[in-house]
């Protein structure tokens, strides 16, 4: 980007961005090595203190169990993101509606969802949603805890996706709307064929940011004793004798696990962002 005299490049700050501007494979690999080193060091210290199997050996024993929990984290993140995307687009379209009665409530909902902490939304859904719903045909639909938590995670992301959509639509130049009108497109036709296709490329990097944020929030499910990675790791430590020497290796392993999953997404998002920035 060329710097023009006496002009602040404010447009680069207009977008909420989660990932760092410079992500690089080498840094990620270096960090992983550092993680592994500190894990080995911590476990060596622990081994010197206790006669029982070394913390690293304990970690290896419990690893499949933790990984199984992590799989649940991923399932929750996929499902929640799918729900959030569908509902968020709906809410976003309501936000740009021309009818005041549709626009105002959807604005309110969006702001409420965006401005409350995830944990509070989690509590609301977990405690206030019924365990089952009785359908008219006397059928019962059960809501297991992990489904409820998925819905709860979807809500804040839904508010943010709604806002992304509104921002993306607003960022399309008015000329596009006017030329669509000149070609006798109705408003919904213009949205469907002209405006929204242009929004997709603008919306994809922030959408991926939110997916990463969502995945990084899924450990909160452990508060409600859902058997995901963190609660499984804690159960593992408990079962292995709850020695203090286990704490650092186990928690470092969890951090590592999420880092390995999220970091490639960060690199990819950054790449897409750069590509689309050149295109537009």
């Amino acid at each position: 980007m060329t710097k023009r005299a006496f002009r602040l490049e404010t447009e680069q700050f207009s977008q909420e961005r989660f990932f760092c501007r410079f992500v690089d494979w080498r840094v990620g690999a270096g960090l992983l090595v550092a993680f592994a080193l500190s894990m080995a060091m911590a476990s060596a210290q622990g081994a010197a203190q206790q006669a029982a199997p070394s913390p690293l050996a304990t970690l290896v024993i419990w690893m499949p169990f933790i990984l199984k929990g992590f799989a649940l984290n991923l399932v929750i993140s996929f499902l929640a993101m799918a729900i959030a995307t569908v509902l968020g687009i709906g809410l976003g379209l309501m936000q740009i509606s021309l009818i005041w009665l549709v626009r105002a409530p959807s604005r309110f909902v969006t702001h409420l969802l965006r401005n409350s902490p995830w944990l509070v939304i989690l509590f609301v859904i977990m405690l206030l949603l019924p365990v089952d719903i009785r359908l008219p045909g006397n059928q019962r639909v059960m809501f297991p805890d992990w489904i409820k938590v998925t819905i709860a995670f979807a809500l804040p992301v839904m508010g943010n996706i709604s806002e992304i959509l509104r921002g993306a639509v607003n960022s399309i130049p008015t000329g596009q709307w006017e030329s669509a009108e000149g070609l006798a497109f109705t408003r919904s036709q213009a949205l469907r064929w002209i405006i929204l296709p242009q929004c997709i490329r603008r919306a994809i990097p922030p959408w991926m940011n939110w997916y990463a944020l969502l995945t990084l929030s899924t450990p909160m499910a452990s508060i409600f004793s859902i058997h995901e990675a963190v609660s499984n790791a804690q159960a593992g430590m408990e079962a292995a004798g709850a020695r203090p020497g286990l704490l650092i290796p186990f928690y470092l392993f969890l951090l590592c696990l999420f880092f390995i999953y999220i970091y490639p997404i960060a690199v990819w998002t950054r790449k897409l962002e750069r590509k689309y920035a050149v295109g537009s």
Binding site: L8, A34, P117, L119, L216
Partner: protein
């Protein structure tokens, strides 16, 4: 103030069954006020620490030494790409297990309390975002403005304090507002290490009194209020600092 509102809420409970116990029971009221105070302190200190880390980190990232830059970069990546909750657990349980304790006569208390661990953890987490925000602000100050300052016989230090910093701060402010607001919301996570802040206290209240919906409503109101106030204050600051003809 308590005497003023207590009869109303007691009456409300008796008439409608809406049990806002924190507003008419002295004991619960005390808990509630303590929760607000701890929660606000937690937000204040976390934001402050994250700002300090952000400024120091941004300075370090512009230093000549590649090693320092690499360290800051690794720090940013490590803390941005891992879950804040596990960071908090790691700090409190894993590192906390190895910090010394003091004998308080009969029982021992760790030197670093869960509140302090929460501040440290949130400060470091938020700082990882602030470094990048401040650095981008410093980078966005146009070269020609600095040259203009040089041609007016400003020394390097004068340029830095009179031109670069004021401009960089204004440029970073919108992104900073976003990040600080989201950090303030993240502080509710301190619940997991039992810091008696708002979420934790109200959780205890609703467990004791089985009035989940009312307390939930209160919790929502509290956070919406805090977030709105914080955002309004920062936006007001933004408007106050605006330079006519610059940016926008």
């Amino acid at each position: 103030m308590f005497e003023l509102i207590a009869p109303f809420f007691r009456h409300l409970y008796e008439r409608t069954g809406l049990n806002f116990i924190v507003f008419y029971d002295p004991h619960e009221f005390g808990r509630f006020v303590a929760g607000i105070s701890i929660s606000l302190q937690l937000i204040f200190w976390s934001l402050l620490l994250s700002l300090v880390i952000g400024v120091v980190g941004a300075w370090t990232q512009r230093s000549q030494s590649a090693i320092w830059r690499g360290c800051v970069h690794a720090y940013i990546q490590a803390f941005r790409n891992t879950p804040p909750m596990i960071q908090l657990l790691f700090f409190y349980f894993a590192l906390g297990a190895f910090t010394p304790s003091v004998d308080m006569g009969g029982y021992t208390q760790p030197i670093i309390s869960s509140f302090v661990w929460a501040v440290i953890s949130f400060g470091i987490f938020g700082g990882a975002f602030n470094v990048e925000i401040f650095r981008a602000g410093l980078d966005a100050v146009p070269e020609s403005t600095l040259e203009a300052a040089e041609s007016l016989c400003f020394s390097r230090w004068q340029t830095y304090t009179n031109v670069t910093l004021p401009l960089a701060f204004r440029i970073s402010l919108p992104a900073l507002t976003n990040n600080l607001v989201s950090l303030a919301k993240t502080t509710s996570l301190a619940y997991v290490i039992a810091v008696p802040e708002m979420t934790y206290v109200l959780n205890q209240v609703w467990s004791d009194n089985i009035n989940v919906p009312e307390m939930m409503l209160l919790l929502f109101l509290y956070y919406v209020l805090v977030v709105t106030l914080l955002a309004t204050a920062l936006h007001a600051l933004e408007r106050r600092l605006v330079l006519p003809g610059y940016g926008q």
